[in-house]
Structure formats: C-alpha cells, structure tokens
Amino acid sequence: MTETVERTGASDAADGGRAAVLEVTGLGVDIRTDRTWTGIVDDVDLVVRSGETVGLVGESGSGKTVTSLAVMGLLPPNARVRGTVRLNGRDLTALSERELDRVRGVEMGMIFQEPRRSLNPAFTVGDQVAESVRRHRGAGRREAWERAVDLFDLVGIPDPRRRAGAYPHEFSGGMCQRVMLAMAVACEPSLLIADEPTTALDVTVQKQVLGLIREIQQRLGIGVLLITHDLGVVAEVCDRTAVMYAGRIVEQTEVVELFDHPRHPYTAGLLAAMPDPRRHADRLGVIPGIVPPPHAFPAGCRFHPRCDHRREPTCTTADIPLRDVSVGLPHRVRCARADEITLEDTST
C-alpha cells in the first residue's frame, strides 16, 4: 500500500500504512431491566486494521463480550447501543437488521467460546459451512460444498472431504473450533471477532487454534479482534491491546509496551496475577475484591475501591478520561494519577 499516512495524536485510525477495518467510537451499551436502563459498557474506542490482531482483555463482567456482540449487532432486544461502529467505513449502527444480515458472515465473522455448543447438532459441519456460502455468494449446493471442503482443508481438518459429512458430536472441541473458524472466514471477511476462542479448550489445543487464527489472518489479511481474559494469549498473538474494566477501556497500547510499562494500576494487577514459572505460586498477585456489577459502578474511577493508589477526591468523584500518555509508542490510560505513581515491576 502506498497511501501516505497522517499521524494525529490519539487517533490511530490509519496507523502503520494499513487501512482501518473496524473503528468503534464512543460505544456504549445499556440494558433495560424493569423499566430502567443500566449502562454496562461505555465510552469504548477501538480500531482494528487489516492484518493486525487487537486484544480486548478483562475479567468476567468487564463488558468485553458485550462490546463484541454490539459490533456484530447481536445484542438481545432489550439492549440499546450508543456511539458508532464503522466497518470498512460504513456505520453498522445505522443499518437495519436485514441490511446487517448482508454484512454479518460476509464482511465480518465471529467465533465463540464454546465451539461445540456453537455448532448446530442437527446438521453436518459441511452443511453449516456451505450454508454461509450459498446464502451470501448465491453458490449452488455442490459448489458451496466444494468450498466448504476447501475451507476445512485450510483450517487443517484432516481428510476434509469425508469429515465434512460428519456431525459436530463426532468432533473434538478443537476440531469444532476449526469448523467455526472455517465458517467465519467462508466469505473472506475483513474482520474476525474471536470471543475467548481457546478458553474451553485443552492447553495443547489452545496453542494450535491460536496459531491457526494467526495463520489464517496472515493468509487472508484480515483484522482480528481477540477477546480474552488471558494475558498469556495476548502476549502470544496480539499486536495491540485494550484492557477493559467495569465497562470501560482503562488502558490501550501496543502489547510490548503494556507488558513492559503498564500505566494503570489494574493492568499492573493483572500482570502480577499472571502465573510465572520463575515465581512461586504463593507469591501470585491477587487483586482484592471483584468487578462491581453494572448497577453498582462506583463514581469517579471505577477501579478505585480496589486500588492501592487511590486518593480522594481525585479518584472518587469525577469521571476520569482516557488520555494520551504516549512516550514513543502510542499509549492511552484512564488513570488520574498515572503521572504521579510508579507501578513497580512485580515480577522481581
């Protein structure tokens, strides 16, 4: 690509000479319960460029899955979305359900945490992959089946022609995730969303699936948004990452920078909680407390009740914006005291 790129402060929409595939701006999601709206995600900005993998990390309940479902337009009917989600320049939030059906599975595909449950037990895996090609590409039965067999070959399913006629219950979890991946990339999308794709799999299989996602991504040049709670996975496959806590992004930077110089106390806590073979298990860091539920998000910094560095009223009253703290590599953090505190390297 020979386009000239203009670098503008915090906006990294067209960084590195690659076109932004996904641009999420000011995304918020509210869920209605008993006639009141509860905000569960807000002020989320994300950019995924073609050929790169962006990690979205956080504990359970941090809003990372809701964010990904909002991008896909797969939220339940009692959800309301704010902000914009641009895929290849088009705002998806403005599309009707019918129009979205021509984007889902074509321009973006998604794989999920439980590959076995995500496949329909009543149809052969080949049919479930071919169906996507038939629906979106208008391919005939035979042609779509051939495409499915090719895709199975691409995702490394042995004996693809025979296995395409098998049912999901005849596959292992790892193989099911390969089928899901084949299905998600069947129409060569520009964006792949992977929601905890390896969480339900054995450790050895995890590596294979992550490697496969990487391989497919490079071969097809697609952008990947990888949702995970596992920083180990981030370290392995992501280029950039955003850390979410209680419905907000608290830190966003390149993976190397995140691991070397975390600027948010929560990120530092997560890093300290990672198992390290050089460190004894009882020195494993633990962040005290739990992620608050959406109806009980505290005022100010949402992490302050669990933070060792909190100071009143700086951290406890006003909303803290996500601000640019780049030194060399782009780096944004949502901490009022980021410049005052030193987060010790806990691994020593």
């Binding site: 896909m72 797969l74 359900e97 019918r98 979205l100 059906d101 021509r102 984007v103 889902r104 599975g105 074509v106 595909g109 998604m110 999920f112 439980e114 449950r117 995500s118 496949l119 329909n120 037990p121 009543a122 149809f123 169906e131 996507s132 629906r135 979106h136 049912y167 219950h169 005849e170 899901m180 299905m183 998600a184």
Partner: protein, 315 residues
C-alpha cells in the same frame, strides 16, 4: 439411518408378543364363561360343553395361546359372538373411519399449533403470546363432547347449516362427501391436543432459540427465516414430535366419544359395543389393534428422533 430403523424395528417384536399375551390373558381374567355367554341363559350344560370343545377352551392354556398366536399372525382374530362375523372383517370396516377422522384431527392440530406456537415464541410475553396462553387454558378445560355439541349446534342445526349433524361417508365416496361428515368431528377431536401442542411448539422453540448455535446462525447473517425455520426448528422438533406421539392415544380416546355423538360407527364405537355385549373376540381384536397402533406410532416417533437428532442415530 437404515441400520437405525432396522434395530428399532427389531425391538418392536418382543413388545408385540407381550401385547398378544396380554390380549389373550384378557379372556382368561374376564368374568363369566364365554361358552355360557354364547350358548345363552337357557342352554343345557351339554350344549355349553359342546361349544367349549368347539372353541378349544378345554385345551391347556398354553396350547390355546399358541393357536391364538398362529391365528392372529394369519389375520384371523376369531368370530364375533354377537354377529357371527369374522372379527377381522368387522374391524376392517370400522377402523378406516376412525383412522381417517383421527388423522384429519391430527393434521388440523399440527397445522394450527405449529404457526401459533412459532408466533407465540417469536413474540414471547407480548400480547399475542399472552392471548394464546389464555386461549390454550380455556381450550384444555373444554371436554371434546361439549365442544362437539356446540359445533353441531352452531354449524349443523342452528345458525349456519353447513355440515350434516351426524352420519358418515367413507373416503371412497369422494373427498367432498367425506369432508362434509368428517370436519366437525375432527375439529372436536383436534382441540383436545391443540392447546398442548401449541404450548409445546412455543416452549421447545423458545428453548432452541436460546441455544448458542442460533447465535452462530445469526452471526453468519442467515436472517430470521433460516435461523428460526432451519436451525432452531429442527432441534425444537424432537420434544414436539414426542408430545405429538403421546397425543395419538388421547386423540383415539376422544374419538370414541365423539364418534358416538356423530354416529360414525367407527372403531371406538365397535369397542364400546363389544364390551357392552360381552363380545370377547371383538374386544380382543379392538385391544390388539389399538395396541399395534400405539406401537407403530411410537416406532415412528423413535425413527423421527433419528432424523432430527443425529446423535441418537449413532448409538
């Protein structure tokens, strides 16, 4: 799939034997001496003994059972005590009436319950869903004979005289004639299962729609039609077909009463008359054929599981 159907068929054989044993035992435990019933109240002891020998009732029980088995397998269900006609012929005359009317009722129940159930599931907890739930409860509470009486009153006697109030024309007289007589009874019979089937269609579709594979189908951009009509429907079919199978028995039960009201002279009527006249061979025949119907329906339901759920096939 063929092998699956084969194994299912084989499991039916012992059940069939058991059924015949039970039907045969019916005579053994029935009060009164069949020979005495045939001979009439004024017959001499000698005449009764002669009839007993003629019927083979003086032979050992196991011998009687073996010869009964042989006869049944040859399509011989004995001779009616009252009309002296072969039971097979009597049943062959009455059964098609009941089976066609019951099948019509079944078809109506399915054709109405499926769209209503889908509608209720798609608009869960909306006014349509709540309205259908209410209507279901009311319908479940109305016995078929009450409904039959109301139907006759409004559509045959008073108000609209569209249908004949009673009687029957076999299908061989033409579809129009048959429909004229079969419609009201079929509606009366269908309603008994309609409410339950609608609830079941709604419930199993709602369960299926909450499964992860439905989210996958939506993520594929399949749209509502294929997501519901293909992915959710095939999985939701299993519990629905199960309940449908269970309802066959209920529909046959309702047919007995409704047939009597419409004077259809069907299979249920035959059974009732046989009991009232203590016509044991006809009773046996009716029970045996009913049992076979239940076995066949269960077999069909079992085989359908194999189609809807490939996991069942593998076992």
């Amino acid at each position: 799939m063929l092998r699956f159907v084969g194994t299912r068929l084989i499991t039916v054989v012992p059940l069939l034997l058991l059924l015949m044993l039970l039907v045969f035992g019916l005579v053994q435990i029935a009060p009164g001496d069949p020979a005495a019933i045939i001979a009439g109240p004024d017959a001499s002891a000698q005449a009764v003994a002669a009839i007993r020998t003629e019927l083979g009732l003086d032979r050992p029980v196991w011998e009687q059972f073996v010869s009964y088995l042989g006869n049944v397998l040859h399509g011989d269900l004995g001779t009616s005590y009252t009309t002296r006609e072969p039971v097979t012929e009597v049943i062959a005359r009455a059964l098609p009436r009941t089976v066609t009317v019951a099948a019509f009722a079944m078809l109506l129940a399915v054709l109405v319950s499926l769209p209503l159930g889908v509608l209720a599931a798609m608009r869960r907890n909306g006014p349509v869903d709540r309205g259908l739930t209410g209507a279901s409860v009311v319908l479940m509470a109305v016995p078929p004979f009450v409904l039959a009486a109301l139907l006759v009153n409004y559509f045959a006697l008073g108000g609209l005289q569209i249908f004949p109030p009673t009687g029957y024309a076999p299908l061989t007289d033409g579809l129009g004639a048959w429909l004229e007589f079969a419609t009201l009874p079929a509606i009366a019979i269908a309603t008994i299962s309609l409410a339950e089937l609608t609830r079941q269609a709604r419930g199993s579709l709602i369960d299926a729609l909450e499964e992860d594979y439905v989210r996958t189908a939506r993520a594929k951009g399949l749209g509502r039609f294929w997501t519901v009509g293909k992915h959710a429907a095939k999985n939701a079919a299993v519990p629905y077909v199960t309940v449908l199978g269970l309802n066959v028995g209920r529909i046959v039960g309702a047919a007995v009463i409704v047939e009597a009201m419409f004077n259809i002279q069907g299979f249920g009527q035959l059974g009732v008359d046989a009991v009232l006249t203590r016509d044991l061979p006809t009773m046996q025949g009716v029970v045996l054929v009913s049992g076979v119907i239940v076995l066949v329906v269960n077999l069909l339901v079992d085989v359908s599981y194999g189609y809807f759920n490939p996991k069942v096939r593998a076992r």
